[in-house]
Point group: C2
Chain length 195, copies 2
């Protein structure tokens, strides 16, 4: 038996994949229905505010996944350097696995919609606040002071976000490699004993 | 007297601004005509392949401007660290001046179209190749060895690209500050005497 919420979750997942592949504006509600194998009438039943609501829920699903991932990676890391390396590795692996076909869920919302939609503007802001704050908190536990953790978190999240654009355009893993070495070296320096 | 090429250049400039503000798909040809104050019939006269050609020429204009800027900043820099700092400064200033309203010309083409258009895929790839290769060449002149210059160039271009997304979403200059300190420290370490 398929529960109502399963359909909705499948639709949010499909919307998220479509946004990662070709952005927000090109996502047709009919594609979401098809990709998630949902009944056509279910769009406005589950998403009375339509496409904006669907994208906002996709952004929230992305944010939850990223926060969970940061916490999981932090549990396995024994230094700030290891954590930022693992975070870059994970994004690079996702890009390679998709054959350079999928980027971030949030970036298209920022570049295509921005503040034109109050709801999507707020969802994008919340996504990056939660990702950087979670990463900064974990870096503090791993020995970085508050200012260092904040700088490292912003640089790592922005670096990965940018590598998801340039690596995809170049069809090369090299931008992720460069960002990884750069943020790892900074993490080392900022947490060196006596620094 | 208005020359034919002036109209075309104005239209490319308008297309570029529209892409930077709201991406590729939401750019209507009528907006380009209006923004550039061009005669309506001029679209298919100057751009027989339509919107794709317009975006490809906008990408090329962006690339030329970036390459010129890197060369100009390199002429004023006396170290690799100074050059990467100046490159991040310049992008941050552009973001603040636009009130967080404008991003990169290339990123939307990558995230919304990618390889679906051979022409735009090639234009995006060429943009990032030229930007990173030009920056790497200048960093070599300023004392970095070939591998270090390549890593620094990829990290700086990707870092700035990402900060243009996260800074815009957060409406904060902080991601640029974090990327600047991170790539500057790496530039210092990679060009230190005896390294």
């Amino acid at each position: 038996m398929v529960r109502r919420s399963d359909t909705k979750q499948r639709m949010v997942g499909a919307a998220r994949q479509l946004i990662r592949e070709h952005g927000y504006h090109s996502m047709a509600l009919s594609d979401v229905v098809e990709r998630s194998a949902s009944p056509r009438g279910s769009v406005y039943y589950h998403f009375p505010q339509g496409k904006v609501q669907m994208a906002a829920e996709a952004a929230e699903a992305h944010t939850r996944e990223q926060v969970d991932m940061i916490n999981e990676l932090a549990g396995e890391a024994s230094s700030a350097e290891q954590l930022v390396r693992a975070y870059v590795d994970s994004a690079q692996e996702g890009m390679l696995t998709s054959g350079y076909g999928r980027g971030c869920t949030i970036a298209p919302l920022v570049l295509e919609v921005g503040e034109d939609s109050e709801e999507l503007g707020a969802a994008s802001r919340r996504a990056f606040i939660l990702m950087t704050e979670t990463l900064a908190l974990r870096l503090t536990v791993l020995g970085a002071d508050a200012a260092a953790a904040r700088e490292l978190a912003h640089a790592t999240v922005a670096g990965v976000e940018g590598a998801m654009v340039t690596s995809r355009a170049l069809r090369s893993p090299e931008p992720f490699d460069a960002i990884r070495e750069t943020v790892a070296a900074r993490a080392c320096a900022l947490t060196a004993v006596g620094d």
